[in-house]
C-alpha cells in the first residue's frame, strides 16, 4: 500500500474523500452558521452587502424578563436531570455489564428501547399518563419525563466504556479481599470514570436542548426551547436567533469538553 500511496491518482483519491466529508460537514453546519450570522445582524432582514455587526439582540435577550425566566426553568430541569440520569444510567450500565442475572437481555431491551422512540410519541404518551395518574404538569413532571429518555442514553454511553474493562480486574480485587464498597470506590468507578463524565455531559446537553418532552409536560412553565418554538411559529423576531445562539454556544462548549474527555488518551 505505502509504495503506491504517492502516485497522483491516489493523492487525488484521498483529496476527494476529504472533500466529500468536508461538504457533509458544511451541510451539517449550514443552519448553525445561518443562525449565528443572523444573531449578530443589526436589521430585520439580512444582506451580506450592508451587514453590520451588532450585539443589540443579545442585549435585548439578556434584558428580557420572560427570556430570563425561561432560561431559569431550563436550568431547573437540566441540573436535576443530569444528576439523576447519571446515577440511574450508570447503575443500569454497571448492573448490565458487570453482573449476570436472570432476564438480563430483556432488561437491556427495556432499558435501551426509549432511545429509539420518536420523542413526540414519548411526550404525548407521558402527557396523557401524567393526567391519568395525577402527576400533573410543570417542572417536576418534565424532569421525570426527560429522565425516561436520557437515563437510557447515559446507560448506553457508560456500558460501552464498562464493556471495555477487563472483568478479571474486579475478580482480582475480590480475591485480594475487597468488599463491595471498596470494590466500587477503588476499582469499578475509577475505571469507568470517563464514560460516566461524558454520559453526564451528554445528559446535560440533551436536557438543555430538549423540546418535545418539555413541550408536552411543562404545562404553563415556559422553557427556553418552548419559548423559541412559540416565537418561531409567529414569524421572524430578531431576538430569537440571539437566544437560540446562546443555547447553541453552551451546547458547543460542553460537547467539545466531552470530546476532550473521550479522546484525551487516544491522542498519540
Amino acid at each position: 500500500m505505502s509504495a503506491e500511496s504517492s502516485t497522483l491518482t491516489d493523492r487525488l483519491g484521498a483529496g476527494a474523500w476529504y472533500g466529500y466529508v468536508a461538504l457533509v460537514a458544511l451541510f451539517f453546519l449550514t443552519p448553525l452558521f445561518s443562525l449565528v450570522i443572523a444573531s449578530f445582524y443589526d436589521g430585520r432582514f439580512f444582506s451580506i452587502v450592508d451587514y453590520e455587526f451588532s450585539l443589540d439582540w443579545y442585549r435585548a435577550a439578556l434584558a428580557s424578563g420572560s427570556i430570563r425566566s425561561a432560561f431559569l426553568n431550563t436550568v431547573r430541569i437540566s441540573v436535576p436531570v443530569t444528576i439523576l440520569s447519571t446515577i440511574i444510567g450508570t447503575g443500569g450500565a454497571i448492573a448490565y455489564t458487570r453482573y449476570e442475572f436472570p432476564w438480563q437481555e430483556r432488561f437491556k431491551l427495556l432499558a435501551l428501547l426509549p432511545i429509539f422512540f420518536p420523542l413526540i410519541l414519548l411526550g404525548l404518551g407521558m402527557s396523557m399518563w401524567s393526567s391519568v395518574i395525577g402527576l400533573g404538569y410543570g417542572i417536576v413532571p418534565s424532569i421525570i419525563g426527560e429522565l425516561v429518555w436520557i437515563s437510557p442514553i447515559v446507560m448506553f454511553v457508560v456500558s460501552i466504556t464498562a464493556l471495555g474493562v477487563d472483568p478479571n480486574i474486579e475478580e482480582a480485587a475480590r480475591d485480594l479481599g475487597a468488599d463491595t464498597v471498596t470494590l466500587y470506590r477503588e476499582v469499578t468507578l475509577p475505571l469507568i470514570k470517563d464514560g460516566v463524565v461524558s454520559g453526564a455531559i451528554f445528559a446535560f446537553v440533551l436536557s438543555w436542548n430538549n423540546y418535545y418532552i418539555v413541550s408536552y409536560l411543562s404545562g404553563p412553565q415556559s422553557t427556553i426551547t418552548t419559548w423559541i418554538h412559540g416565537r418561531m411559529t409567529q414569524g421572524f423576531t430578531p431576538v430569537v436567533p440571539a437566544v437560540a445562539s446562546l443555547i447553541f454556544y453552551v451546547s458547543l462548549l460542553l460537547v467539545v469538553a466531552a470530546f476532550v474527555v473521550e479522546f484525551r488518551d487516544d491522542g498519540e
Binding site: 451580506i48 404518551g125 446507560m155 464498597v181 426551547t225 460537547v255
Partner: protein, 311 residues
C-alpha cells in the same frame, strides 16, 4: 469512616442471606432497580395509556373502562384506504418523507462514513466533532437555522444575489423542504452506525482480498458492503422511525400546510384537543417503533462497539 464501615458490614451480611427481598438491595438488583422502576412507571405506562385512549370515545380526557370504541381506527383507516381527505394526504406525505429521507441519508452517509472509517486519518477528531455537534443542538434551533437560510431575504438569497441571481422559486413550505429538514436532522443517526460498522473491518481482510486479486468493485461488493450491513440496517430503521415522528420540521419548514403523521397527531392533541383520535394515530407509530427498536437492539452488539472504541 464508621458509617462506611457499618454500611460495609450490612452489605456483606445482606449478600450472604437468601431472602429474595434482601437480594433487591444487593448488586446488581439495587443498581438496576431505579432504571427499571422509572421505565415501568413512566415509559411502559404512557405507552399503555396511548393504546387505551385510542379506544375511548371522542374527547375523552380520562380512561373509562365501560366505554370503548374503534370509531377512530375506522375513521383513520377508511380515510387512508380511500386516499381522500386529510388521512389520505397524511399517509402519502408521511410515507414519502420517511422513505425518501431514509434513502437519501443512506446514499449521502455511506461514502462519508467510509471515508471517516478508512480514508481519513488527519483531523479525524475535528471532523467527528463537527458531525456530532448538530445531534446535541435542539431540533428547534437547527430547523430554525434552515428557515433563516432558505427564507426570502434570508442568508441563501443574500449570498446568491452577490452572483447576480435574483429570481428563483420560493424554497420554503414545500414537501422537499421538509425532506431537507428531516434529512439534515436524522443523517447523524445513519452516519454513525455505518461508521462504527465500517471501523470493525480489519485492514488485513482488505489486504487479503486485494492479494487474491479482488478489484475495487468486487472488494466493495463482497467484503465492505456485507460487513457494514448491521450498520446500514440499524441506521435505516433508526432514521425511518425518527422521521415518522418529525413534527417540528413539518411545522416550520412545511409552514403548517403539509401534514405528516406526527404533525397531525400533534394537531389532534393540541388544537382539536381530541386525545383518543390522536392516540389512535399514535398507535400505528408505536407499533412500527417497537418492532424496529427491538430489531435494532437485537442487531447492536455493545461488546463489539466497545472493542472498536479502543482502536
Amino acid at each position: 469512616m464508621s458509617a462506611l464501615d457499618t454500611l460495609r458490614g450490612r452489605m456483606d451480611a445482606v449478600a450472604t442471606s437468601d431472602n429474595p427481598l434482601t437480594a433487591l438491595v444487593t448488586p446488581p438488583y439495587v443498581l438496576l432497580l431505579p432504571l427499571a422502576v422509572l421505565l415501568l412507571v413512566m415509559f411502559v405506562g404512557p405507552m399503555v395509556a396511548i393504546v387505551l385512549f385510542s379506544v375511548q370515545p371522542g374527547n375523552a380526557i380520562s380512561l373509562n373502562p365501560g366505554t370503548w370504541t374503534v370509531e377512530h381506527y375506522a375513521e383513520i383507516l377508511g380515510g387512508m384506504a380511500s386516499g381522500e381527505g386529510v388521512y389520505g394526504d397524511v399517509l402519502v406525505n408521511t410515507a414519502a418523507v420517511s422513505a425518501v429521507t431514509t434513502v437519501v441519508t443512506l446514499v449521502l452517509s455511506y461514502p462519508a462514513a467510509y471515508a471517516l472509517a478508512r480514508k481519513i486519518k488527519r483531523y479525524k477528531t475535528v471532523f467527528l466533532l463537527v458531525l456530532i455537534i448538530p445531534l446535541f443542538t435542539s431540533v428547534n434551533i437547527r430547523v430554525f437555522g434552515w428557515a433563516l437560510f432558505l427564507v426570502n431575504n434570508g442568508v441563501l438569497e443574500s449570498v446568491v444575489s452577490l452572483f447576480g441571481v435574483s429570481n428563483y422559486p420560493t424554497m420554503m413550505y414545500q414537501r422537499w423542504t421538509i425532506i431537507l429538514g428531516t434529512t439534515y436532522v436524522y443523517m447523524p443517526f445513519m452516519l454513525f452506525p455505518i461508521y462504527l460498522s465500517l471501523l470493525s473491518i480489519e485492514d488485513e481482510t482488505i489486504a487479503a482480498a486485494q492479494d487474491l486479486g479482488a478489484n475495487r468493485w468486487t472488494l466493495f461488493r463482497r467484503i465492505v458492503l456485507p460487513l457494514s450491513k448491521p450498520g446500514v440496517i440499524i441506521g435505516s430503521l433508526f432514521v425511518f422511525i425518527l422521521s415518522l415522528g418529525a413534527d417540528v420540521e413539518a411545522q416550520i419548514l412545511g409552514g403548517g400546510s403539509i401534514f405528516t403523521m406526527a404533525s397531525n397527531i400533534n394537531y389532534s392533541f393540541g388544537y382539536s384537543q381530541n386525545w383518543p383520535l390522536g392516540s389512535a394515530q399514535a398507535v400505528g407509530l408505536l407499533i412500527i417503533t417497537v418492532v424496529c427498536g427491538v430489531i435494532i437492539l437485537r442487531t447492536i452488539n455493545l461488546k463489539e462497539i466497545a472493542s472498536r472504541g479502543d482502536a
